[in-house]
């Protein structure tokens, strides 16, 4: 079966990508917006993180990436709340523009290498590896993700958090409660894209490289994790939802690791992800259809029997 190093690797990457799933939890599950900025926002995080790392500031790189991501989210939100661009299109427009921005951030080269500079992981290695050995990467990844998850759970219980949740649940009611829905959508998308970019930022330092195509298909991967988590852990309070995101993201990485183990070529993984997402989102409809066919069959054949 899976070796320890594969398990370790799946956990590390699972925690890093969990931030994308958490971002989609905020935009897709809570605000009810399929945010197509995600792909470009993820690469933006990688690019900013790599560039700032090369300047020698790996920790600052994470914050810079989050600010950049929030700005991307702001543009998407501005397009849809102020200029009347449909939400999916707004994300696609931003995403397309981000491709050039990302290239520019990386100095118009399609990849950057971080092998010769410090990252949060090399810093952690110096400090932690005498004690925890090779687990230092997991500790860093888990720590960052758990901090963001905790902040998210706390935030969603504040007045502002409740207002954002209600905006996705019933916008009519929110307007009637003196809350500006446009502001809530803007805050929500800024936060979610900051998380996506943070995920990209951590991944770039983890991989010791940044590539212009790293974010491609990220929205589907994030949704797959989110849906796996919601299916297995279920919905409930905010804590449970965020826990589901974590579980889903880590499990998704185990599924990928298993697929690789079974010699599924790496090029096929995006198709596997797409099939998982398509199937999982379609599942309720399929269940209804199956139940209806069963009833219909029973009704028709029941009559014949009489």
């Amino acid at each position: 079966m899976l070796s320890l190093s594969v398990v370790q690797n799946a956990l590390e990457v699972g925690f890093i990508y969990a931030l994308v799933a958490l971002a989609l939890f905020l935009s897709y599950s809570i605000l009810n917006i399929a945010d197509m900025t995600t792909d470009g926002g993820f690469t933006l995080g990688c690019a900013v993180s790599a560039s700032v790392c090369i300047m020698g500031h790996p920790v600052l790189a994470l914050f810079a990436a989050m600010i950049a991501g929030a700005m991307a989210g702001f543009i998407t939100a501005f397009l849809q709340t102020k200029l009347g661009v449909p939400s999916i299109l707004a994300g696609i427009v931003t995403n397309t523009g981000l491709y050039t921005v990302n290239l520019a951030v990386m100095g118009f080269s399609s990849n950057l290498s971080l092998f010769n500079c410090d990252s949060i992981f090399t810093l952690a290695k110096d400090a932690l590896s005498p004690v925890v050995g090779s687990w230092y990467k997991l500790i860093v990844a888990a720590l960052i993700t758990l901090i963001i998850c905790t902040l998210t759970v706390l935030f969603l219980g504040t007045r502002l958090g409740i207002s954002i949740r209600a905006t996705g649940d019933n916008p009519d009611m929110v307007r009637a409660s003196s809350i500006n829905t446009a502001t809530m959508i803007t805050i929500g998308l800024c936060l979610s894209n900051a998380m996506t970019s943070l995920s990209g930022a951590v991944l770039a330092q983890y991989n010791k490289s940044s590539d212009i195509n790293l974010g491609t298909g990220m929205v589907v991967i994030g949704l797959a994790s989110l849906i796996i988590g919601e299916t297995l852990v279920g919905k409930g309070g905010m804590f449970r939802c965020v826990l589901a995101v974590l579980v889903g993201s880590v499990l998704y990485r185990f599924i990928i690791a298993l697929a690789l183990k079974m010699n599924v070529p790496a090029e096929c993984l995006k198709l596997v992800s797409a099939i998982i997402v398509g199937f999982a989102i379609a599942l309720p409809s399929l269940k209804n259809w199956a139940a209806f066919q069963k009833r219909k069959w029973a009704a028709l054949h029941g009559k014949e029997a009489q």
Binding site: T158, R159, L160, D172, A176, S177, N180
Partner: protein
């Protein structure tokens, strides 16, 4: 006090679907007035409410609430001082959030904009919500953590009424808020409306298709036709008025009958 001056609104101007929904309407609501509004479908009742609440801006005229010009104030800012209930009980509450969270949203009106955005709902607030819920007499105070989606239509409408009035509004707009409820529940929600409005001395406007309600509730009745107020009954002339007399007055004023099945049925029923 609400003052509407020369209010006009035309939908789809310059197209074959052009519809004048409000036509040079003038109206003044005194403090503590409880006005019932009747009229045929398309008379402009809901448009009038939408104009006051700020769902859209009017083409002409001005809206003043307690001396302040709110004609160009956006909807979400007006809703700090205007409470509103719709016919659809699902419209006023967030189904996937708990009763407590819904109430705390409504209670945001009590704080200054942006103030305490990161604060959580306090114990004192929760206790206050519980007391308010108890007044509804629906045992909702024991279900504060339950999602609102699990409540019945009547319970949701009662909760919406509580949310609209938990911070006393300067004006309460009720748009047929009991029409989608069964008769017993409707009566209960009406009774709650009556007591809350009277107790807090809230200025209130209520659209209804029930003629009996229109003359028994409140202290004043408006009849609308083609985007204007054709009849304004209050004081002596409203006392002891029967449904038949009122329908006759409407026919005389509007030169047509109230052409609505629901009105006919509800007037026969009472």
């Amino acid at each position: 006090m609400l003052e509407l001056t020369n209010l006009s609104k035309t939908f789809n101007p310059g197209t074959p679907n052009q519809k004048t929904a409000l036509s040079h309407l003038n109206f003044r609501l005194e403090d503590g007035d409880f006005v019932t509004i009747v009229g045929s479908n398309g008379a402009g009742k809901s448009t009038l409410f939408n104009a006051i609440a700020g769902t859209f801006y009017v083409d002409e005229g001005s809206i003043r609430l307690d001396g302040k010009d709110i004609t160009y104030l956006p909807e979400y800012k007006r809703s700090r001082v205007i409470g509103r209930l719709f016919q659809d009980p699902l419209k006023g509450t967030a189904p996937h959030m708990s009763i407590e969270e819904n109430l705390s949203l409504a209670y945001l009106r009590a704080s200054k904009p942006g103030f305490g955005a990161f604060s959580r709902v306090s114990k004192a607030d929760k206790a206050m919500f519980r007391d308010h819920l108890a007044l509804l007499g629906m045992h909702l105070e024991d279900r504060m953590k339950h999602p609102v989606g699990l409540l019945s239509g009547g319970q949701r409408q009662a909760l919406t009424l509580l949310m609209a009035t938990i911070v006393t509004p300067q004006l309460l707009l009720l748009d047929e808020h009991t029409a989608a409820l069964d008769p017993a529940t409707a009566e209960k929600v009406l009774e709650l409306t009556r007591s809350i409005v009277a107790e807090r001395h809230i200025s209130c406007m209520m659209v209804t298709h029930n003629m009996h309600q229109a003359i028994t509730m409140g202290n004043r009745t408006l009849m609308m036709s083609d985007g204007s107020i054709v009849l304004d009954l209050k004081g002596k002339e409203r006392e002891g008025l029967t449904v038949e007399q009122m329908l006759q007055m409407f026919r005389d004023k509007a030169n047509k009958a109230l052409d609505n099945d629901r009105i006919l049925l509800s007037s026969l029923g009472n």
